[in-house]
Amino acid sequence: MSARAASVRFEGVYKRYGPVTAVRDVSFTIEAGTLVTLLGPSGCGKTTTLRLIAGLEMASEGRIFIGDEEVTALPVTARDVSMVFQSYALFPHMTVLENVRYGLAVSRVPKAESLARAERGLEMVGLAGYGKRLPSELSGGQQQRVAVARALVLEPAVLLFDEPLSNLDAKLRRQVREDIRELQHSLGLTAVYVTHDQQEALAVSDRIIVMNQAVIAQDGSPRELYEQPADRFVADFIGDANLVEGRIERLDGETAVVDIGGTRRSLPHRGLEPGPTLVALRPESVRLRPVSGDDGLRGRVVKATYLGSHLEYTVESPLGDLFVVDPRVEAPIARGTDVAIELAAHGVTLVRDTA
């Protein structure tokens, strides 16, 4: 099957609805056999981008390629993609097997072959034997898997997921997203996945394209996005960074010496010039210690929340209010306690201030 997986390429694509631009000058390449997530807040253009790949929307400008073929003007039926919808969109008047077989039947695959493939598809998602049921007789998670099977049996060059987990409860989500990743890996599919949940995106993706206000904010691996966010928006959207003011005092080769609230740190300069700058502090990189004599930075705990696996603090400091995650649940710090603030060796990075 992996032989059929194809790449997807956007070249300067725009989508306008009257005066509104939903997608602005978007270009990217999705390598064959990878799972790429389109991530962003609602209304950022990620779903429109997905629908542009499918052909459910037509680009106002720019070119779209699947594999080596330009598909910009091709209607949805002529594109070798299939899609798993947010609402699953299972046909309520057909049985599960009829649903899964539908794409094969309308492509005039002989009946015996299409039945066999549909059965195999159901097996693949662990629903063998459910073929005769109606979608309404399945649970939400099962319906979701039927939708995946229905899209899979066509062996599409690109498989699209439009927020496939948003209708599932939290526990099931983890399970299903691992199943999807597993299937994608073992079949070597090209998959494009839309979500607004950054954790989900980090968990399943080979690469993440973060979108904001119709444009691409950043395009990179989960690790790159987390550790080197391109701007204030990405840093904030992925992993709740504390964004604080700092000052680059001088550059020294690849690194910059930065003043953060009176303490000095050497960080990769990421192309920034000396002067005021923005620093992203990950909540788990801010460490709280008991106050001693010569602390560089001090603060006071104003809120403490116990969450079982970890504690969340809000700390008042000269840098502003800091959001802190601390795994040491055995030693909680009471509200009102003065603390010394240290920054860990990782999870502190300079960010270009664009917004």
Binding site: T77, M83, A89, F91, L154
Partner: protein, 743 residues
């Protein structure tokens, strides 16, 4: 794995080009005089000049002006082999289709029965030796081919996501609406500006439209009749007000009281559907006419001499109020139920008493709905033709005046056109008011959320008023229907009340003759015509209506709002106006349809299409759009998607619009009276004729049979489709998303 797109199918452009050639080379180009379905043309084909295909007309019969059509059909051949995404292919298809269609239409209008129709063409090119008649199969096929080549071209250039089927569907609906609504109605305008010699005469138009008998206000000061326009307007306002008031009383009774016979009340809403519009008038004559039961009772009991008091504005108003109250009821039930009980509960917790709650919360929330019901009653009254015809007497309204201007001794097309314009302006104004003013002002608060509240009981005064208006009126309506069913069994109403089946025998006798069964009753020919025409029209109406609804709900395209407005417009055009306009438009080439059954079918399809559109829109907005999209991404073409996903889920809506258009076609009268012919007489126009002759017995018998047939038809369809299955399907559609959302 097959090629994406299903592979192996003939591209639509190739198919339509072939159809175009078939129309040009093979089928007879002009209309066949013997009727659309007659195959007598095969005799003498293809040499016969009346039945020859276009290519023969050009080569053999000197109709050289048809030759460019072949050229325009040949142009697409140069690009048809190119791949679908090719820009040049799209442009060439688009241009050749558009030019071809324009040329075909232009030559049809330019050259008619007398050679050149346009004087300047004759001056330019000299008189033409040849002539041509209305378009036939060949021309229609070729026109369709050009239309769809054009839409294919548009789609190939990326219109509406490059979906050829959708663009084609839009093109088809637009072409149909333009041909069968816009063109005929504009023909009225043209006709209004012409004098008897078909010359442009604006002065005469001004004289006609300002005429005293349309706008005169003599009735206010002297004892003469008022202008027809004022008659219509006054009647419309009265009927609108009375039907709304009664409808509201019924609606309150049915939803907000403990009235025991609520189900019975609700069945009232089907009455206007199954009742031919003049039946009420007929029944009123039997009750209140000179020899009517009530009149005779008054004479016997109080020595009040019988008069013709029921003939005139009072009788027409009474008949219309009886006929249209159920329509207002139907509208207002939805409105009253739409007022959220929690709002009323909120008012009550804020210390408002029952009466205060009703007047300050409930009633204002219903106001747009009430205005809507009033406008509906107003338009129905203006468009009503049957009741004024039967009961009007000396009292003329616009719809009947239009009819008499055409068929009466006057035979004045110009006057008919002017009257039709006045009528059209009134109904369009009401339609526009409804559309613009009420369109976005619904306060209905029905949401997906459960509304746990209970509506508070009505204030005592309101409740009493509702009971006291609704119950007597319901009883009255009941009596009326008994009269209709009973009237046919009496020898001569008012004079000889001997029970008889004579009228039924006369109308519906069946004899065993030499050649088997003989349908010897006088009503059979019109009865069978009515059944046939209605049965042909119903599926077409449903198809056009649902296609339009699907385009409106599921597709986004430039001009969508104008498209919606245009398709709904035919709702606002009164039947009499359609009737006149069809006579004016389709009596001469390029489309000669008068005197055929086809024109009746067409008039029904476009009169009733908005019903199908509304049913379809209502049903389709309930279906998740991603169902269609899922099917498309699974490689099913648009047509397959409609057939396998949309239609099965829309079955209830399809059945509803089928039944509705069938029944409406059977009971229609206003457009029909203009369009019937000796060969194609319809039941309603036949009955009207009998009423005009005072033959009430047979008319009553026929009406009763019609009503029974329609009730049977509705029942049969419900049985066939299966109420149980409908319920289950709805349950299923609801269960899907609910489970998905709840998980």
């Amino acid at each position: 794995m097959r090629a994406p797109g299903g592979g192996g199918r003939v591209p639509a452009a190739v198919l339509w080009n072939a159809v175009g050639w078939a129309g040009f080379l093979v089928l007879p180009w002009y209309g066949i005089g013997d009727g659309f379905w007659s195959f007598a043309w095969l005799d003498g084909y293809p040499a016969d000049p009346d039945h020859a295909p276009a290519v023969w007309q050009v080569l053999g019969h000197g109709r050289a002006w048809l030759a460019p059509i072949a050229f325009l059909l040949a142009v697409p051949l140069t690009v048809i082999g190119r791949p679908r995404g090719d820009a040049r292919r799209g442009t060439v298809l688009l241009a050749s289709g558009l030019v071809g269609l324009a040329y075909l239409v232009a030559q049809g209008f330019a050259i008619g029965i007398g050679g050149f129709e346009l004087a300047w063409l004759e001056q330019l090119l000299g008189p033409l030796g040849q002539r041509q008649y209305g378009m036939g199969y060949g021309a229609l096929l070729t026109a369709a081919a050009f239309l769809f080549l054009f839409t294919e071209g548009l789609a190939a250039r990326g219109a509406v996501k490059g979906d050829g089927f959708v663009v084609g569907g839009i093109g088809l609906v637009v072409a149909l609406v333009v041909t069968f609504i816009v063109f005929p109605v504009s023909r009225i305008l043209a006709s209004a500006f012409q004098n008897d010699d078909y010359e442009y005469a604006p002065a005469q138009f001004v004289a006609r439209i300002t005429s005293h008998d349309i706008w005169g206000l003599g009735c206010l000061s002297e004892n003469v009749a008022c202008g027809i326009a004022w008659n219509s307007l006054g009647l419309g306002v009265m009927t609108g007000a009375s039907t709304t008031a009664l409808g509201l009383a019924f609606a309150l009774l049915a939803t907000r009281t403990a009235f025991p016979a609520k189900r019975l009340l609700r069945t009232m809403t089907v009455l206007p559907l199954i009742t031919p519009p003049f039946v009420i008038g007929l029944a009123l004559i039997l009750l209140f006419g000179v020899s009517g039961s009530f009149t005779q009772f008054l004479e016997w009991a109080f020595d009040i001499p019988p008069t013709r008091y029921v003939y005139g504005p009072f009788g027409v108003w009474l008949a219309q109020t009886l006929a249209f109250t159920p329509i207002a009821f139907l509208v207002l039930i939805g409105v009253v139920e739409g007022v959220s009980p929690s709002m009323e509960e909120a008012a009550q917790t804020l210390r408002a008493g029952r009466w205060k709650t009703f007047t300050t919360v409930s009633l204002p929330l219903m106001r747009p709905g009430i205005a809507n019901a009033f406008l509906l009653g107003f338009v129905e009254s203006l468009a009503d033709f049957g009741n004024p015809l039967v009961l009007g007497g000396e009292f003329d309204v616009l719809s009947t005046a239009v009819f008499f201007a055409i068929v009466g001794a006057q035979h004045d097309q110009g006057r008919a056109a002017v009257l039709a314009i006045v009528l059209l302006v009134f109904t369009l104004a009401a339609f526009l008011a409804q559309h613009l003013w009420l369109g976005n002002r619904s306060y209905a608060t029905v949401t997906g959320k459960g509304d746990a509240g209970l509506p508070p009981p009505l204030p005592r005064g309101v409740s009493l008023a509702a009971h006291w208006t609704a119950i007597p009126w319901a009883v009255f309506t009941g009596i009326i229907y008994v009269m209709v069913l009973f009237g046919g069994f009496v020898e001569v109403w008012g004079l000889d009340h001997t029970m008889t089946v004579r009228h039924y025998v006369e109308a519906f006798a069946v004899r065993l003759g030499d050649g088997g069964l003989e349908w010897s009753g006088v009503a059979w020919p019109s009865f069978f015509t009515t059944l046939t025409i209605s049965a042909v029209a119903a599926p077409l109406t449903a198809a056009v209506g649902l296609l339009t609804a699907w385009l409106l709900v599921r597709q986004r395209f430039a001009g969508r709002r104008a498209f919606e407005f245009g398709t709904m417009l035919s709702f606002a055009v009164p039947g009499t106006v359609i009737g006149v306009s069809y006579i004016l438009a389709f009596n001469v080439p390029p489309l000669e349809l008068t005197g055929t059954g086809v024109i009746l079918v067409i008039s029904f399809v476009f009169r009733n299409m908005p019903v199908g559109v509304r049913a379809g829109v209502a049903a389709m907005t309930q279906l998740d759009r991603s169902l269609d999209e899922a099917s498309l991404t699974l490689r099913a073409g648009t047509l397959t998607t409609i057939r396998r996903v949309v239609l099965p889920l829309l079955r209830p809506a399809i059945v509803a619009s089928l039944v509705f258009s069938f029944v409406r076609a059977m009971t229609a009268i206003s457009a029909v009276v203009f369009l019937v012919s000796a060969d194609y007489d319809m039941a309603t126009s036949y009955i009207i004729g009998r009423v005009e002759n005072g033959d009430y017995g047979l008319a009553n018998a026929y009406c009763a049979v019609l009503i029974v047939v329609m009730v049977a038809a509705i029942g049969l369809v419900q049985l066939l489709v299966g109420q149980r299955e409908l319920g289950r399907r709805q349950g299923r559609t609801e269960a899907g998303p609910a489970m998905a959302g709840g998980a």
